[in-house]
Amino acid sequence: MNLHISRRGLLGIGAAGGAATLLGACGDSGPNEKVTGGGQNAAPAATAYTGPNVALAFWNGFTGGDGAFMKKLVDQFNTEHQNIKVTMNVYQWADYYQKVPAAVSTGNGPDLGIMHVDSLATNAARGVILPLDDLAKSLNLDEAQFSPPVWQAGTYNNQRYGIPLDVHPLGLFYNKSAMEKAGLDPEKPPTNNDEYMSALDKLKSAGIQGSWATPFNFTGSMWFQSLLWQFGGDLFDEGAKTAKFGEDPGVQALTWYVDLVKKGYSPKNVAQDADVVALRNGKNALNWNGIWTINTLREDKNLKWGAAAVPQIGTQQAVWAGSHQFVQFKQRQKDDNKLTAGKVFMNWISQKSLEWAKGGQVPARKDVRESAEFKALPEQSALAQQIDYVHYPPSVPGIGDAMNTVVTAVNEAVLLRKEPGKALSDATAKANQILEQNRKKYGG
């Protein structure tokens, strides 16, 4: 949909598209109604679009440096496809998730977009995005071409709503100079609990608090979740009916994390972002952070740093990850040309996702991941090794509300205001209430 239309144009579309009454009643279809769009036409495999000229609006949250990589791809696509013009609009993610549903509800939404995998269920349940099963089939996409966890995470109610673009897991980022100062081998970061603790001891003797524990969502809560899965636990049970993060594995995980502070390997009261800033300044040595940290650390030309898979502290390998997924948005009127053109776009970008990976991502697509060019990106491929054991939150609408209780629990425990067990059990009680509330609201 072309967004640069005049006021008259908007009114025109509004009238043609059927009147929505002023106050509410915008959602004229819910999750259970047959939704228009999503490729119900059994068109031939859409690797080419041969229809009339069409303009697609593509919205995402790739602000700052990320945006440049995606924009490059979009521009290239536009050059190679004479009859499709894709316009990309970027917004900050937090704004994007408020804005897009509002826009879709009034018929001003885009055609295509990107969403994080843990937002798919909520947006699907609210009728913002369309099922993509037919699209996946017509492009011959299935689990084998991606990786099991990321492919499975893109579904809700047994329908597929997202085509994975990338995976962004946590990784271990380490300051090589700090490690050298403590007599550690900067090319051999720790890979298990014993190595990790002994490294921390050495760092402590050299006067460095080696692993700052942040109490905030980025990335304290993600670190905790990784540990939770590593100790064999899980956030919720099957279908997310009850919260399980407060059980033994969770307590173990949070205790290990809080002990970093208690044992002096981390200062107290680490503020938001302080752990990364400290890493850049050599005051922090081992930091579990998202793959996006690659770009941050690259800004410092004098910094010697490395990235590796997170160590296995618990009994199994596991790590937190997010994933960007392609989605298609509900429209007031179904436009088959646009849907087909959209398919072509998604497929094309997906195949070229190596370019995207250079911006600091792990491509979701297996063939790209295993290509020589990708393997030549050292930090990204180091983190890509974790691809088969990444974990995502369950695909349940409103799961983010319940996850907030985890964030609070981690915060209280790391700031030493509550013991880990108590923090988690308080959070469990709240989470269960919220889960029930959500079940009532979204059904199921």
């Binding site: 509004g14 002023l22 602000t63 990320d66 804005k99 009034t106 300044n281 996006w292 941050t296 004098n302």
Partner: protein
């Protein structure tokens, strides 16, 4: 003032001012640092490796980031809304302060009561209304809805109340009607209040970042707050760019304030009352 009192006086003023200015000065200095230096620990004061990179990022307007355009949009929206508020709120405030009519207190009470409703509740309904009016992605959406805020009316009504009535009474005796009293007596006397309200309204609109999220879509329609936001990466804050953006954004507002202070507020003489 005696010499020593004068010096003590300025010492206090300057001392207090330092507390106010220090963070702002630090902000400006940060705008000229590299991202790495801006987050150095211990922090540096003067830039060791001064650079205008942050400003460069801001001004290298691509089609995605037309910063000058955002600046212009912000200017038009803020000026437009301030002007609209001055006009409608002053008229309403005058009626509420000086005129008698049925339901006056009830009306005033109702207007003020809406100030107590958290603005978040009004966002979604207003978004739907604005959509219906066809104003999405236009300046109208930025100018008109906010002008209905009760703030301006409450503010001016209190000021009008505090004006001495003698001048109005004199004008009435000379045969002026309401409109003439309003425009020839009240408004000139209220210049400090009007100028203050203009500055406040301008600033509120200039810095608003929540409402534009909902009603603006295309990059060319953005105002500065959402626009500067998309220059930031998703996960880390680029302090020099944030500070440079803030520095640029603060210039018109400060200018407006100084003009209003010097030429309007301080220019008002009280001589009118002697006649």
């Amino acid at each position: 003032m005696s010499r020593t009192r004068g010096i003590a006086w300025y010492t206090i003023l300057i001392g207090l001012s330092l507390i106010f200015i220090a963070p702002l000065v630090w902000m400006m200095l940060t705008a000229f640092k590299t991202p790495g230096e801006a987050t150095r620990v211990p922090p540096t004061v003067l830039p060791q490796e001064p650079t205008t990179g942050a400003f460069g990022t801001l001004f290298e307007s691509g089609s995605q980031t037309p910063v000058l355009r955002w600046f212009l949009n912000s200017l038009l929206a803020a000026t437009g809304q301030a002007a609209l508020i001055l006009v409608v709120a002053s008229m309403a405030a005058y009626a509420l302060a000086r005129m008698e009519f049925r339901g006056k207190n009830l009306l005033f009470g109702m207007i003020v009561a809406t100030l107590f409703v958290p603005i978040f509740i009004l966002i979604i309904p207003n978004f739907l209304i604005v959509d219906r009016l066809g104003w999405l992605d236009t300046l109208w959406a930025l100018i008109v809805p906010g002008a209905a805020s009760a703030f301006g009316v409450f503010f001016l009504r209190q000021f009008f109340e505090s004006l001495p009535r003698e001048l109005e009474e004199a004008a009435v005796i000379e045969g002026a009607n309401s409109w003439q009293v309003f425009t020839r007596v009240i408004l000139p006397l209220s210049k400090p209040a009007l100028a203050t309200l203009a500055v406040i309204s301008f600033l509120t609109n200039w810095n608003d970042f929540i409402w534009p999220i909902y009603v603006l879509f295309s990059p060319e329609s953005f105002t500065l707050p959402p626009g500067l936001g998309i220059l930031q990466g998703a996960y880390t804050i680029n302090y020099p760019v944030v500070m440079a953006g803030a520095a640029i954004a603060s210039v018109p507002a400060l200018l407006l304030f100084m003009i209003a202070q010097r030429y309007v507020i301080e220019g008002v003489s009280r001589s009118g009352l002697k006649g």
